[in-house]
């Protein structure tokens, strides 16, 4: 993960933060490389915002240390650290114009008026808000306000950009647009960026590296692709994207038993008789026209059919595999003349290399997904 060739920009070591008896973050250690875009991803209450606020100095950690550019900053007040921050609520000063909001932090630089004006114009240009400089935040839409907040945070050219759920308060379309804009900005400026989000899609589309957090700990880190394809726990498999889960029991090497069917999959070195949980993404399951000799082909009945634009999500029942419905995503352009109306008999294939096998973790309960 940490290649020595690239420079470590920010390093968090054994960081913990308690609020009374509540342990918001527990013994977290991470290294972030210069110019990297990382995401802290997790459900609400997992400690991701607390971690960000500790890095900013807005909270003081209970133990552990933070180093930025080889300087220990753990105990510095926020004003002595080097970062810009954007909040979910924009936090624009309502009585100041867009111009004054953006130039707010530049005042300290004792720059001349011309220099400030040209810097603000440059920033306005960058976030695509030229000609809005005289407006007040109340006259802007949410997305525009968030771009002003972004410009304000970048105005002083900080070495680190912190984004605290920056897109959560916005409409779906604006969100997707701003996602791209932030990503472009990051590419252009090369500023090391940390974003906190609970939206896995957002994290996947923006981050170079994702830290998935749960209960104050980092439970997996890696590139978006790694995390999607090689989720190291059923929790992540369920949290990131959509997954079918099937209860099973290991029979022998690379063979597990579900109900009345034997499934081929990679069991690594799990011992026989171990209860396991199989996970497979809906898009990884194939539909077959007829019974086939390939591995893991089983018959099923279509229960429900959801049209989702570019693809269809089909809910099938396969009693020999599982009591619960399985979801299968089929791209519309690959749809054959196969009869997919509810009640039709079909065959499905679960490719062995697409199935991930997790030892059964009884503390984790899956959401029951059933077609209603």
């Amino acid at each position: 993960m940490s290649e020595k060739s690239r420079h470590i920009f920010l390093s968090v070591e054994n960081l913990s933060k308690n609020f009374g008896s509540f342990r918001a973050i527990q013994d977290i250690s991470i290294d972030i490389e210069e110019g990297e875009f990382v995401c802290f991803l997790g459900p609400s209450g997992c400690g991701k915002t607390t971690l960000l606020r500790c890095i900013a100095g807005l909270e003081t950690q209970s133990s552990g240390s933070i180093t930025q550019k080889d300087v220990e900053i753990s105990l510095l007040p926020p004003s002595a650290r080097d970062f810009g921050i954007v909040f979910q609520s924009y936090a624009l000063f309502p009585n100041l114009t867009v111009f004054s909001n953006i130039s707010y932090g530049l005042i300290n630089h004792k720059w001349g008026k011309d220099k400030i004006t040209s810097r603000v114009n440059e920033l306005l240009d960058m976030v695509g808000l030229k000609s809005h400089e005289a407006k007040y935040p109340g006259q802007l839409s949410g997305g525009e306000q968030q771009r002003v907040a972004l410009a304000r945070a970048l105005a002083t050219s900080p070495g680190l950009l912190l984004l605290d759920e920056p897109l959560s308060a916005l409409d779906a379309k604006v969100r997707i647009y701003l996602r791209k804009q932030i990503k472009d900005l990051h590419r252009k400026l090369g500023i090391t960026t940390i974003m906190v989000t609970h939206d896995q899609e957002e994290a996947q589309s923006m981050a170079d590296r994702i830290f998935v957090m749960k209960d104050g700990k980092i439970i997996q880190s890696g590139s978006p692709k790694e995390i999607y394809e090689k989720a190291n726990s059923p929790f992540i498999a369920d949290f990131i994207g959509i997954t079918n889960f099937i209860d099973a029991r290991v029979l022998s090497k690379n063979k597990v038993a579900c109900h009345a069917f034997e499934v081929e999959c990679n069991t690594e070195d799990m011992s026989a008789d171990l209860p396991v949980r199989l996970a497979i993404r809906p898009e990884s399951i194939y539909l077959n026209r007829a019974a086939s000799d390939v591995d893991n082909c089983v018959d099923a009945i279509i229960i429900e059919n959801e049209f989702l634009g570019s693809f269809q999500r089909i809910y099938v029942e396969s009693t020999s595999l599982s009591n619960e419905l399985l979801m299968i995503d089929v791209a519309n352009n690959s749809l054959t003349e196969m009869d997919l109306t509810p009640g039709s008999q079909i065959h499905i294939t679960l490719p062995p290399d697409q199935i991930r096998v997790y030892p059964c973790d009884c503390s984790f309960h899956f959401q029951k997904r059933k077609a209603t």
């Binding site: 133990s63 510095l76 926020p78 936090a91 000063f93 932090g105 005042i107 839409s141 945070a153 105005a155």
Partner: protein, 579 residues
């Protein structure tokens, strides 16, 4: 003890961030405010408690004074009298003000602005004005004396009527706020479910306003229970706690008994205060961002009834203030009704206009210094997180003044600041002590107003400023202050008017050089010169009205410049289309 359990008890040194300038300034301010409250609230009250367990010579005598109090039936009776008057007045005011607030917020009656304006008039006058007006209307020579069926206005009837009059706008303000916050979807849901209007009223309106009603009841109870002016003027021989304290201290120079009765007066106010605080904590916001604000629908029956009711209340208020003015302008009520200004020549009564000017000075200083102190204080409590423990203490201190009756605060100031060994003894008998007393006396309401507006500001403003390396005092000046300006004006006008009208806080503290208009009105009445008392009380009304008008004009002018950002309609354009 095992080694492990010892280890558990050892507290690891807490990580503490090094302080920057903002932190240090904040901590210093926090400490200064705590010192302010210790000096001007906590220590004086402590002295009052000490006084109550001492004899005339300052020797400790335990609870002897309290026993003496309990053995004196006349004093003890006052307690029940005060309780009775306060409870009856509270019930009447809550019912009257609730109906009025309901008419203003939930019906379609016309002239709402006018009704509201008139209903708030009693705020502009000292409480004694109501008592004086009642004497004119229903006193021994009153025009409408027959309405009393032979009962005297001097006594419980007069006290209750006058108390209802002057506390009515206070109740109206709280109740109309809580009635105006309501989700119309609830009523639509009720209607769809075929609920009768009455049931909707009982199951939606009343529960929605529940906390407002509770809060109003406690506020009014405390106000009436601790009021001094009204029973002094119209109480006759009916003794109440507040007048007893005055008699003991000013009449009999029995400071110890004064202290004891003060604490008896303080006790129910404290209970009311804590119950109110408790009920506030249980209150959850009924309005979410998804609520749709209630818009009343026309209903001929209800609207006509309410219009009649509001007209009736308005006429009564105008009759009261009108009569006080009339009485001040006629030669000799009710025998010679020709016009004169002689009652405004207070020199005749041995009291000059000096007291009037003093009142204006007091009100002015209180408004200026009080607003600065209180608003900065509310910022410290709400926004500075430099030291949680000290902040908690300050928060408690800021709420305390609400539960301390003015009379008690004033008396405790005598004990504390008149002591020879007190290093700040020099402020005793000056304008300064009156200003400080008045600021402390009216601290809580202004403070809570400030806290409310600060709460509405994004809690991340401070974080943003720190990340941009702008010290917080700069942000306070550039953002917080301009945004909160309308509220700051409201606080200043509240302090000004209250400083003009207050009696109970200052009655023990004024001296020959610092007589005040409201106090003079009481003395004029005491001397039997009711017309001059009415004239003096009306002077206070004129100033209050004038200042209100200036305030409105000034506010409008300055707000047009500083609040430009407020008036623009938000334009929720879609970004994607613009990009």
């Amino acid at each position: 003890m095992t080694a492990l359990s010892i280890f558990k008890n050892v507290r690891l040194p807490k990580f503490s961030r090094s302080k920057d300038l903002s932190d240090r300034v904040g901590l210093f301010m926090l400490a200064s405010y705590i010192l302010f409250f210790l000096l001007f609230l906590v220590f004086p009250l402590g002295t009052l408690i000490i006084k109550s367990v001492q004899d005339q010579n300052g020797n400790f005598i335990g609870l002897k004074n309290y026993l003496l109090y309990l053995q004196e039936p006349a004093l003890f009776q006052s307690f029940f009298n005060s309780l009775f008057i306060a409870i009856v007045s509270t019930i009447i005011v809550v019912i009257l003000a609730f109906s009025f607030a309901y008419a203003l917020t939930r019906t379609c009656i016309p002239f709402k602005g006018f009704f509201r304006l008139i209903a708030l008039i009693p705020l502009l006058s000292p409480s004694i004005l109501a008592a004086i007006a009642l004497v004119y209307w229903l006193g021994n020579k009153g025009v409408l004396k027959a309405l009393l069926f032979g009962n005297s206005i001097y006594g419980p009837i007069g006290i209750i009527l006058a108390s209802v009059y002057w506390t009515f706008p206070h109740a109206l303000m709280i109740l109309s706020t809580s009635l105006s916050l309501s989700d119309s979807r609830l009523y639509e849901a009720a209607e769809v479910l075929k609920t009768t209007k009455l049931r909707a009223f009982l199951t939606i309106t009343i529960p929605g306003a529940r906390y407002g009603i509770i809060s109003t009841a406690f506020v009014i109870f405390t106000q009436v229970f601790t009021d001094f002016g009204v029973p002094k003027v119209i109480g006759g021989n009916y003794n109440m706690l507040a007048t007893d304290i005055y008699k003991e201290v000013v009449g009999m120079q029995n400071f110890q008994m004064g202290a004891v009765i003060s604490l008896v007066l303080l006790f129910p106010s404290l209970i009311a205060f804590f119950i109110d605080q408790y009920s506030r904590k249980k209150q959850i916001s009924l309005l979410t961002s998804r609520s749709v604000v209630f818009k009343p629908k026309k209903s001929f029956g209800v609207d006509s009834l309410m219009l009649g009711y509001c007209t009736f209340i308005t006429v009564i208020i105008l009759m009261m203030i009108g009569m006080a003015q009339f009485g001040a302008l006629v030669k000799f009520w009710p025998y010679d009704l020709s016009f004169t200004l002689k009652h405004y020549q207070f020199e005749v009564a041995g009291l000059g206009w000096e007291s009037f000017y003093n009142s204006i000075r007091l009100a002015f200083y209180t408004a200026i210094f009080g607003t600065i102190i209180i608003f900065i204080g509310s910022y410290i409590v709400e926004k500075l997180k430099s030291d949680e423990r000290l902040r908690g203490i300050l928060q408690l201190f800021t709420l305390m003044p609400m539960s301390v009756p003015g009379l008690v605060l004033g008396l405790s100031y005598i004990f504390y600041f008149n002591a020879k060994d007190n290093p700040i003894n020099f402020i005793y008998a000056t304008m300064t002590i009156l200003v400080i007393n008045t600021i402390v006396h009216f601290y809580t309401v202004s403070h809570l107003t400030g806290v409310t507006v600060l709460k509405q500001m994004d809690k991340e403003f401070e974080s943003v400023s720190l990340s941009l390396k702008i010290p917080l005092y700069k942000m306070f000046w550039k953002v917080t202050l301009p945004v909160c300006l309308p509220t700051i004006f409201d606080i200043s006008i509240y302090l000004f008017v209250n400083a003009m009208t207050t009696v109970s806080g200052v009655i023990f503290l004024y001296t020959y050089n610092t007589t005040l208009a409201s106090v003079s009105a009481i003395h004029l009445d005491e001397q039997g010169d009711v017309a001059a008392a009415a004239a003096m009380a009306m002077l206070i009304v004129y100033v209050s009205v004038l200042v209100r008008i200036i305030h409105t004009v000034f506010t409008k002018g300055i707000l047009r410049r500083t609040q430009a950002w407020r008036h623009d309609t938000p334009n929720a354009a879609n970004d994607v289309t613009k990009a």
